[in-house]
């Protein structure tokens, strides 16, 4: 049964002694990608690079693994607070001290609240927001601020806090293009004032955008030894460097995160 495929890779080295089997069973264009799902969006490589497209199952697997790497506290461990501290002094303090929620609950609450009550925006900001979103979506195909619990393609509360400053949405692009220009225009005080008075972004909105299309392609590593991953495991989609690591991969991690 063919279990390996060769993938185009600039670092590819010809490998004597064994043969790659080309995989024809996977067509990225047939994989439905749901841009509303942040977990999947998070696991999705930027741009339309065919060989990097992932199946929904792989995306879930990657998202799960990242969540594991990001975790602050192990839910399996319940460590009691030693000794006797001061007693809560008010009912309110008692309530807060007794919360056993994790950060994800608070962040989900924040997202839900922003969806319920989008902050009011000046009209120019809405215009800027729309331009910004159009720009973002042509670049990545995915609204960068969408979140996992967002049902719509765009959650108003998430992207907006940044935007009141974008009164001149094109100036940034201009300046990026004209790098020969030696001296930038002086700072306008109104512009500065509006920058300084802008409210904080929500937690989700503060995250860095996915890599731009046209940048260096995502690097792929051997799931077992960390060398370049030029071969793809057809069971789980992980990359491996050669047959030796493929055996080790199948014995340990294959399908672990699926």
């Amino acid at each position: 049964m063919p279990h390996v495929e060769v993938l185009p890779n600039s670092a590819s080295v010809s490998a004597p002694g064994w043969t790659y089997v080309v995989d024809n069973g996977y067509d990225p264009s047939k994989v439905a990608i749901n841009p509303k799902d942040r977990k999947r969006a998070a696991a999705r490589p930027g741009g339309a690079r065919g060989e990097n497209e992932l199946s929904a199952r792989q995306q879930t697997a990657i998202a799960r693994r990242i969540a594991e790497l990001e975790r602050d506290n192990d839910p399996k461990q319940s460590i009691p607070v030693p000794g006797k501290g001061s007693v809560p002094k008010t009912q309110n303090a008692r309530r807060i001290i007794q919360y056993q929620r994790q950060i994800k609950h608070w962040l989900d609450d924040e997202i839900a609240q922003l969806q319920q009550a989008p902050p009011p925006l000046p009209r120019s900001a809405i215009r800027a927001a729309n331009q910004q979103l159009r720009k973002a979506s042509t670049l990545t195909g995915v609204p960068p601020m969408s979140s996992e619990v967002t049902p719509g393609p765009l959650s108003s509360g998430l992207a907006t806090p940044a935007l009141p400053l974008r009164a001149e949405p094109t100036s940034e692009i201009d300046s990026l293009l004209s790098i020969e220009r030696s001296m930038p225009p002086p700072l306008k005080s109104a512009e500065l004032a509006s920058l300084l008075s802008a409210p904080p972004l929500s937690y989700v909105a503060s995250h860095v955008a996915p890599p731009a299309v046209g940048g260096p392609p995502q690097r792929q590593f051997c799931d077992n030894c960390g060398y370049w991953g030029k071969i793809k495991c057809l069971k789980c989609g992980a990359r491996i460097c050669g047959l030796e690591c493929k055996d080790a991969h199948e014995a340990t991690r294959c399908l672990k995160w699926a």
């Binding site: 002694g17 990001e70 602050d72 790098i179």
Partner: protein, 443 residues
Amino acid sequence: MPPKISKKATAAAPVKTLVLDNGAYTLKAGLVAPSGTPSYDDCRVLPNCIARSVRDKCMYTSSELYQCKDFGELAFRRPVEKGFIVNWEAEKAIWEHELLSETAGEGLRCDPKDTNLLLMEKPNCPKELQKNCDEIVFEQFEFSAYYRCVGPTLNAYHPSIPSSLSSLPRECLLIIDTSYSDTTILPIYSGQLIQSAVRRLTVGGKLLTNYLKELASLRHYNMMEETYLLNEIKEAVSFVAPSTQQFSKDLERTWKGRLGDKRTVDSSIVLDYVLPDYEGAIHGYARPHDPLQSRVRRGIQPLQGPREDVLPLGNERFAVPELIFRPTDIGIQEKGLPDAIMDSLSVLPEALKLTMLSNIVVVGGNSLIVGFVERLESELRSLVPTEYLLNVSRADDPIKHSWLGAARFASQPDLMKQVLVQKAEYDERGSTWLAKRFSGGDK
């Protein structure tokens, strides 16, 4: 109305400020007197956790960990998640243990009733958590007065010229805070954070340690319960490759080859980490790789001399910290740090962007990884117009630097007067008003 005598006593002793950088991994804490000249030495670094040994059930609260002799299978409870105080039951126990009771370290113990609190938080903290925090500070701890703000912002109060006594903040400062929870980019203008330009990368020290733990467990021994040790190993052996080209070269040098194409790994880059046994040694150490050792482990070679467990580290040394520069290496769909900085600055007018680029200061524990600042600077150089001045520096003590900025701010009574909120004021006006006040909405 308090009796006259206590009023006099308060007037005699100037109110000190507890400056507290409440990180997920460590608290940075120190008491600062008005008009004093604080230094790094005034800052204590305390683990922000409660730990329990799975083996002997011993418990350690915060600084008690410094007395721990066996870090094997130590489990941690951390009140701060993603940089924000989430669990007040544990945080209260740690504050009480380290700052308020007789177990507090020398020079740290204070009575909140006659102490100000300057609490440093991460940017983009959910409002509900800020509210909980404010309420606990006044209702449970009853601090005399309080100010909460985005901690790294106060780096603007480091004098730009060392001898300068000016209390004015730096005009432009771009702080890169690469810490345990994540990596944040904070453009600061005249001591004020430009909120819309704040950017956050998921990758921080915690993720790097967990990633190394995962790799070591997959490739060598199951070390999934050895977070403390893997963090120690990460700190001892990691380096950031100077460029992506060098990264590729190092990856070749550390590759074992494949069937039919076996290679010898380059011993000048592969290290062996001698694991502590927690009997003779509490800490491990790294030494150059000895290929014989790994054969011993596999039972090919007979064992001679005392038994030791060795963890070989090849590409893990540089592939782990590489995630800050290439989060996509493990599928995190975010730009790397240099591109993220350019993203953040793209929000700013060009004149401001230009000045920010010549005033970049890196703080946070990950900046201690060998090669970090050099790689950041060289990648940024390739993204910034050639005629722009680029200046990236690492704080002398990147772990305590934000604390010291805050301490310098706290030592200036005229600055503190503008921002502190008295307990009586809180009692009268409540936490919703307080939140508005701290966010600059109500002066």
